[in-house]
Symmetry: C2
Subunit: 96 residues, 2 copies
């Protein structure tokens, strides 16, 4: 069953926070597992970047405004990857 | 002809910087054009996030360390999208 966006968001916040505190290999392993999970849940790359932004805004309320705004710009660039990603899913489904 | 990574990096820095100063629609249009360009140059989504990190570290030397470290974590998640992106290119090439 697909996880809801809120569940994924909550989980990402937990594993990112843990990684920032402990900075260990296990944290990067959690990131890889999370990567598989977002792919399974068909979260697009721009949604993933957007989720990341929401969490770091929450974790770092003093983030420079420009750094936050720069994410809007990155999101716009990631949309191209999102289109390719959806095309990929459709090509792959056709080959099944 | 493919643009070198250094040229893309330089261009991204210029358009991002201009966007952060002027925050206008034209900036977002530049982001869309840049998105097309990185796709043409087969830059993977994790390379794009890595390029973004390099530029914002340069533009915001006082970025909180945790915010910078959080990018390492995001990069690890983006690798899954990178794999799907390369698979997409190979499926698409096979259909040509």
């Amino acid at each position: 069953m697909a996880d809801s966006y809120a569940i994924l968001e909550d989980q990402y916040k937990k594993i990112l926070n843990k990684y920032l505190q402990e900075k260990d290999e296990q944290g990067l392993y959690h990131a890889q597992q999370f990567s598989k999970k977002v792919m399974e849940n068909q979260i697009s790359p721009e949604e993933m970047v957007s989720l990341h932004l929401e969490i770091i805004e929450d974790l770092f309320p003093n983030l420079p405004a420009g750094a936050r705004d720069s994410f809007e710009f990155l999101l716009e660039v990631m949309i191209g990857y999102g289109l390719a990603y959806r095309e990929h899913q459709s090509l792959r489904d056709r080959q099944k």
